[in-house]
Symmetry: C2
Subunit: 249 residues, 2 copies
Amino acid sequence: MNITMHRFFISKESFAGDNVSITGQPAYQITRVLRLKRGDRVTLLDDTGREYETAIESITHDTVQGKVIANEPGIGEPKISLTLYQALLKTDKFEFVLQKGVELGITGFIPFMSERCVVRKPSESRIERWHNIIREAAEQSRRARLPVLYRLVSFTEACEQMNKPSLILWEGEKSRNLAVTMKSEPFHKASALSVFVGPEGGFTPAEIELARRHGIVSVGLGNRILRAETAGLAAISVIMYEKGEMGQK
Amino acid sequence: MNITMHRFFISKESFAGDNVSITGQPAYQITRVLRLKRGDRVTLLDDTGREYETAIESITHDTVQGKVIANEPGIGEPKISLTLYQALLKTDKFEFVLQKGVELGITGFIPFMSERCVVRKPSESRIERWHNIIREAAEQSRRARLPVLYRLVSFTEACEQMNKPSLILWEGEKSRNLAVTMKSEPFHKASALSVFVGPEGGFTPAEIELARRHGIVSVGLGNRILRAETAGLAAISVIMYEKGEMGQK
């Protein structure tokens, strides 16, 4: 499938056999922004993991009609399901984490509030913006499923609801590092895992203690002090790498 | 040494035995921004790899006089010397790469222009800003040496001047990936290496060919398409991880 073809997530309901009816934002992108014409092709994604190469058949005011030419499984989905529990950060940092996290292969994002968070609860329009960032990054990076943004929870709720095995990045952890942890069980063989990343000011010792009581394993990332958003992305990169998701498989 | 102490790179010439005379931007930060007082302590860095815990003795209009209380080798410097050859990117992306690169342990940055670069040569004031970003990130992340920003070169010059072993990230490389490459020689044992990262539009096939003729090894990063700045950061994270710089040593 053409690597440079434009990609759009659309609803499953838009498909009727090989015929597809594109409306809303993707139709606007196709007609007004990209100015594609009848006969041009796009890749459509229905969030099932498949990709649909589609020829544009007609364009009306707000609808693009297409015909599916070929469909195949997408290759952009990682085999590992990695959930990122991310403390709320200042807006640009948080959006950065969403975008880069999607590119690197995160399956789900769970924002949480912890003691040292300095930002307020996001507005509805902010959350809508976050969904758009995730969708655009997923389209651009060739994901075949849309990573899920879950509702904001408290750190305590996050600890209670997470699925093991689970890691928490902590700059105070000097005795256990990400490398050794990822090479040992249950992390080495896990096909799903979670990682917790704190706010700009880090976690409190009480929070680390709470996480540990829930079986979340604290790990350090070395001698340099990484900003919250850098630590998260470095950890995601390393986890994906350990899971063979950097081109090895 | 206190992890939360403020850190400043100052010139070697500021030291006279245990007495130190701080002027310019660090003095402004200490007096006006942080409003530190006589008796407060800061960590000074002379770019030799050592850290100097220093007590403030007096503050005048534009000079802070201090006395070095203790000095020790900094722990923030990686053992690996990793040079990043980074194509010019749009300003915010390029600055992002500088900041995150410093945090993750880059030793030197060499900006270059390649065929698909869409930005113009940076102005003097822009380069000054880049130096400041590097210094601030180095102070914040506990580096003990200031990463060096070299002058802008052409891609051809970059290929000619680079020190081997050297990698180039290329999304078209399907037969060799970063993981296998980092685990094989000469990369596995290298104490110094370089990595080339392209502009938003990637490298041209001719550029990859030129790089290979110079012995630069092209590697892929997997099935997802990473933005230029994400690819660089992911590769740096993985290289540092492979070199034991994520807390393992």
